[in-house]
């Protein structure tokens, strides 16, 4: 019987008033008792024997079998009872003591949700109590907290890709519940057992978020077999790619520097290997990715357009596991396991490309040499001190190194003094995050983090003859040191509060130049120039997810940000309000509305034209004010639970102020003087941006066929006083229509078929199409350059040419085989751009046979790949 009455109480109530007036309060009776590992029931028997009282209570008031160890010396019965049953209250009626539930008092159910077999904590897991209609999701560290009244209640724990756990819990007191979720192994088994028990999109207030799991990434075809999280994100609505093949992303009309890319809380300032063609993230090291495009919770800030939050794996706490992957471009190794079983684990993922190794032989034969490689390492240690304290140290180290030595003149005997030329570009990120997770109470969770992030790019040119040598080196580097604290507070089922603070010291050297010119006379004409900027960026925030009733949930938030450049007197203090509403029209259908204000203090100066993510990161200064944006989004989401389908339609409008761009004719590669490249502030134009769009996502997450259909209609307009004659223009990343179709078919455990088809409208390119008399021809200042005598080609507006649309079909096949109990082998085959569409990479103008024509340069037509992986 779930509902029980206080049977003893009923008997007693009849004479309560009579006896209570005449008998002294037995709760004040004093006794001495020593309790050693005794159940509450045994304790009561012992007290009854010592003080001649009896106890009355219902069978769901507390847990009778809970063990107690305590020693009381001449303590009142009330003191003893309060000590052993802190969540109850007591009344005496004659020699009877009634044990009652505190009026309205609820018990706290809390804990961590982990993966079975590895004890990897899982974030975003639904914990739901269907009879009570209350639920929550685990935070970033797998922690949750719920309040429920005493009694026997069903609790459901579910997470996409894992078997749902259903349990009945006898809850009489605060309760720690830490179930282990088992991963689905049966492909035919439905991924989501019962959607009604899950907190699906229609039941959360959060909107404008794309969630990607490692499974999504691993199942899809990829160029060169390099599983790429960023390219998978490009397949979701609102997130667009850059040039063909690039892994950079543009979110809701924002430039790529407006994305906050975070790996284990550390910001990454460069996200691409091989000039942005492959993302930095080793797909096997990533646990989950959440990409916020709008409706930003107040805990996020510092960038205008998106937050792409990567969480890496913690490492298996029970057994050593690993994976070895051999691809055409690179190979990777993963190793994880316990250092101290169930207490300390490590995770190591390393990847390296080997083009340079393949070219070793060729390089030895020739005087000219080429070398390129990229590599990255993820390393993490996760230590559990006790149930309430954990320490996590996660690190990322990535590098790209491109070198070319041209010594071809040496082979030409007609050249007397041959020149040897060396070119080099090297860049890389280092991040390190030390986190301490502390469960202060079962309602209050604290995370404290020390974060270090470093990015450096070096461009170098060496030219030497026997007589003279010249060395030119451009460095751009930055260091961020951050301390942050985040408190998660769960006061009751209707509120989920987050409070936090963050302080960052930025140390940027946007451009440091070294020039060495050494001639025969041993005269050194060395030049060293650099600019260093330091700034503090801080923020405090509070946010709440407030469930007003079954239909309406609101999520108000406020972030207060502070920025100060050390060289400036000016401080930038900004209030950033955030607000989100969700209204359930019906059980599985919700209307959502949100508003976010964001500020950004760091900026990326990319080359005008095609950017290969090799520009300069700079900080706001007196001249370059912080960027800010306001975004409103409205959406409707419907879950079709039985079939596993869901549809999400959103529309947004975003305005941004103080966005920056190089002035007309300025750029890293166009600096006329060395000083110009150092004093970048003088070459910057400040403007505004407006973007709007509609995004549709139809998704199927259940069954042997899964996938999604995404469509984005978007429009972006920029306006700068110093660009395009002050007129509005479309940036190159403005693509009006984006369609993506993703299909994954897993008929059984052996096969995985996948395909994705994408279509995007053409980019806006600036191509001169008019010829005029030279504007300078009549100017009276003499010129010795023949250019002034010639006609010249010009264009009146930026983006006057709309490139052709891009579309392609990528297909993939994976063949899995369980070789023995511990080893699984997977062959992956993929075909990128399978129907060989000539997608434009860039356009150029050519003069041939007295005719000016536009030429389209294409690449990445039919790229087959093969990968072999062993998982053990």
């Amino acid at each position: 019987m779930k509902k029980t009455f206080y049977f003893i109480l009923i008997c007693l109530l009849t004479n309560m008033k009579l006896s209570a007036q005449h008998n002294p309060d037995v709760l004040k009776n004093k006794i001495s008792v020593t309790l050693q590992n005794k159940t509450i029931k045994q304790v009561f028997i012992e007290i009854q024997n010592l003080s001649n009282v009896t106890f009355g209570y219902s069978n769901n008031t507390f847990d009778e079998n809970r063990l107690v160890t305590a020693k009381f010396n001449e303590a009142t019965l009330l003191e003893i009872l309060k000590n052993i049953l802190p969540n109850n209250h007591f009344k005496s009626i004659g020699t009877k003591i009634l044990i009652l539930k505190k009026k309205g008092e609820k018990n706290i159910i809390s804990g961590y949700i982990k993966e079975f077999g590895s004890q990897e904590v899982l974030s975003g897991v639904t914990v739901y109590m269907p009879e009570l209609g209350i639920g929550t999701t685990t935070n970033n560290y797998g922690f949750y907290s719920l309040k429920a009244p005493s009694g026997k209640h069903k609790i459901i724990v579910s997470y996409l890709g894992y078997k749902t756990i259903e349990k009945s819990l006898n809850i009489y007191d605060n309760f720690i519940f830490t179930p282990l979720l088992k991963e689905h192994t049966e492909a035919l088994e439905t991924i989501v057992l019962n959607n009604t028990k899950m907190i699906t999109d229609s039941k959360t207030v959060q909107m404008s978020v794309s969630k990607i799991t490692t499974k999504n990434v691993n199942d899809l075809p990829a160029i060169g077999g390099e599983k790429d999280v960023m390219k998978t994100l490009q397949l979701t609505p609102g997130i667009q790619g850059g040039i063909e093949g690039s892994s950079s992303v543009f979110v809701r009309g924002g430039s790529s520097d407006q994305n906050s890319v975070i790996i284990d809380e550390a910001p990454l300032y460069n996200t691409g290997h091989l000039f942005g063609f492959f993302s930095l993230f080793n797909g096997d090291a990533i646990k989950s990715v959440d990409a916020y495009k709008g409706a930003f919770p107040a805990r996020f800030g510092g960038r205008l357009s998106s937050v792409i939050d990567f969480k890496t794996k913690d490492g298996n706490k029970e057994k050593i596991h690993g994976k070895f992957d051999i691809g055409l471009l690179s190979s990777s190794l993963i190793l994880e396991g316990p250092i101290v079983k169930n207490k300390t684990s490590f995770f190591l993922a390393a990847r390296r490309s080997y083009l340079d190794l393949l070219l070793l032989r060729e390089n030895k034969k020739s005087d000219s040499k080429f070398k390129y490689y990229f590599g990255d390492i993820n390393f993490k240690i996760h230590h559990v001190f006790n149930k309430k304290n954990k320490l996590i140290w996660s690190n990322y180290l990535g590098t790209d190194d491109f070198n070319l030595i041209d010594n071809s003149e040496k082979e030409d005997k007609t050249i007397q003094d041959p020149t040897k030329i060396g070119l080099g570009i090297k860049w890389g990120n280092i991040t390190s995050t030390l986190r301490w997770n502390h469960e202060i109470t079962n309602q209050l969770f604290l995370n404290s983090s020390f974060i270090y992030s470093n990015f450096k790019i070096t461009n170098s040119i060496d030219a030497s003859t026997d007589l003279e040598s010249l060395h030119l080196k451009y460095d751009s580097k930055l260091n961020d040191y951050t301390f942050k604290m985040d408190l998660d507070y769960y006061p009751n089922p209707n509120h989920k509060v987050k409070i936090g603070a963050k302080n960052t010291l930025h140390q940027f050297t946007p451009n440091a130049l070294k020039y060495k010119d050494k001639n025969l006379d041993e005269v050194n004409n060395d030049i060293q120039l650099f600019q260093k900027i330091e700034a503090y960026e801080s923020a405090i925030y509070i946010e709440d997810t407030w469930t007003l009733n079954n239909k309406l949930t609101i999520a108000p938030g406020l972030r207060y940000s502070f920025y100060k450049n050390k060289d400036s007197q000016k401080q930038h203090l900004n209030l950033e309000p955030r607000l989100a509403f969700s209204y359930n029209l019906e059980k599985d259908m919700a209307l959502k509305l949100s508003y976010s204000k964001m500020n950004q203090f760091v900026h990326f100066l990319s080359n005008p034209g095609v950017s290969l993510e090799t520009g300069l990161w700079v900080l706001s200064t007196d001249k370059i004010r912080p960027k800010s944006s306001d975004q409103v989004a409205f959406g409707v989401v419907k879950d079709f639970n039985d079939s596993g389908y869901s549809i999400n339609i959103e529309t947004y409008y975003k305005t941004s102020k103080n966005v920056i761009n190089y002035k007309e004719g300025a750029g890293i590669l166009l600096a006329q003087k060395i000083e110009e490249s150092i004093n970048w502030e003088n070459n910057i134009s400040i403007g505004n941006s407006k973007s709007s769009g509609v995004e549709v996502l139809l998704r199927k997450q259940k069954g042997t066929f899964t996938g999604w259909l995404g469509y984005t209609l978007s429009n972006v307009t920029l306006q700068f006083d110093d660009l395009n004659g002050g007129l509005k223009f479309k940036p190159p990343y403005n693509r009006k229509h984006n369609i993506s179709v993703v299909v994954i078919y897993k008929p059984n455990q052996r096969w995985t078929f996948s395909a994705n088809w994408v279509y995007t409208s053409g980019t806006h390119v600036t191509i001169p199409n008019q010829r005029s008399v030279n504007a300078e021809n009549t100017f009276p200042v003499s010129s010795g350059n023949p250019y002034h005598l010639e006609d010249y080609n010009y264009v009146t507006h930026k983006g006057n040419f709309r490139g052709q649309p891009t579309h392609r079909l990528d297909i993939g096949l994976q063949v899995h085989k369980q070789l023995n109990k511990n080893v699984k082998r997977t062959w992956s085959y993929s075909l990128y751009n399978s129907y060989a569409r000539s997608n434009p990479f860039y356009y150029s103008v050519k003069n041939k046979n007295d005719k000016t024509t536009i030429t389209k340069q294409s690449f990445l037509k039919i790229i087959p790949s093969i990968n072999l992986s062993y998982k053990f």
Partner: protein
């Protein structure tokens, strides 16, 4: 140099990544948002002018053809008027010579530093207007020196002048050598011809030009020219020069710059702007 580095990088990337790299010439002229020919109007005025000049021509659409500008491009029937803020105006007639300019001696119509002027052009009932402001100050050329290369016939000319303090200034620099036979040899300052003081303020600016000294007789006249120009001249000239240097078309890493246009009207592109010209003459003498 950096451009060289990135272009090399592109080549290497292309050859490594993609055996399927391709280049296609296709008829894409319909993908331009505007393919109409535009009217070009250029006029620069200064207090040092003895003749006012305006050039008006029609542009050629170059995609699919390669039509050079010829006499037929010049507009000869326009009504051209320059006026000042006191409603004084001067009508400038077309002069049918090889320059194809509208021109007239300044006469009583004075161009003064710090003053605003307007240009009105009417072509076939279409009206085009613009205004400009003459920079108030003229700079003085402080130093000059000729540096001869002992191992070649090339020589450098260094011009040094003081930037005007506490304001944004833009300069166009040039020089020419006129022999006694009236042969004019211009000196090339390349991109250094276009200068701004955005890095320095009030300090000396030096610029170096290059020329071949082999056929220049001693005693020739060397004229140094520094013009203090409106920003529109600087941005327009610099953009055009860079576009020309970058091959007059889009490159992978370099976007074609948009020259400044300050002429109002339909389908027009051009510049009406003011400047102050400083000149210094010295006698060329090669030791």
């Amino acid at each position: 140099m950096m451009k060289y580095l990135y272009n090399t990088l592109l080549f290497v990337l292309c050859s490594l990544l993609t055996p399927s790299c391709s280049e296609e010439e296709t008829n894409l002229s319909n993908r331009f948002t505007n393919s109409k020919n535009t009217l070009n109007i250029y006029s620069y005025i200064s207090p040092q002018d003895t003749v006012l000049k305006v050039r008006i021509a029609k542009s050629n659409n170059i995609i699919g053809n390669n039509n050079a500008i010829n006499e037929s491009n010049f507009i000869k029937n326009a009504n051209v008027v320059i006026s000042d803020m006191n409603n004084n105006e001067i009508t400038i007639p077309y002069v049918d010579d090889e320059n194809h300019n509208y021109s007239i001696p300044v006469g009583d119509f004075k161009i003064e530093g710090g003053k605003k002027y307007s240009l009105q052009v009417t072509v076939d009932d279409h009206h085009y207007t613009s205004t400009c402001k003459i920079p108030p100050n003229k700079i003085s050329i402080q130093n000059d020196s000729l540096i001869f290369d002992t191992e070649s016939t090339f020589a450098n000319l260094l011009i040094d002048f003081k930037d005007i303090k506490n304001q944004d200034n833009y300069y166009v620099v040039g020089a020419k050598i006129t022999t006694q036979e009236n042969t004019v040899i211009p000196i090339d300052f390349e991109g250094g011809r276009y200068l701004s003081d955005n890095i320095i303020d009030g300090l000396n600016i030096a610029v170096i030009g290059l020329f071949d000294s082999s056929e220049i007789p001693n005693g020739s006249k060397l004229t140094l020219q520094v013009s203090n120009v409106e920003k529109t001249i600087y941005t327009n000239f610099k953009a055009n020069y860079q576009n020309y240097n970058n091959g007059d078309g889009p490159e992978l890493f370099i976007e074609h710059s948009i020259g400044t246009n300050n002429i109002d009207g339909d389908n027009v592109f051009g510049l009406f702007a003011g400047f102050q010209l400083s000149e210094k003459e010295i006698i060329y003498n090669k030791p």
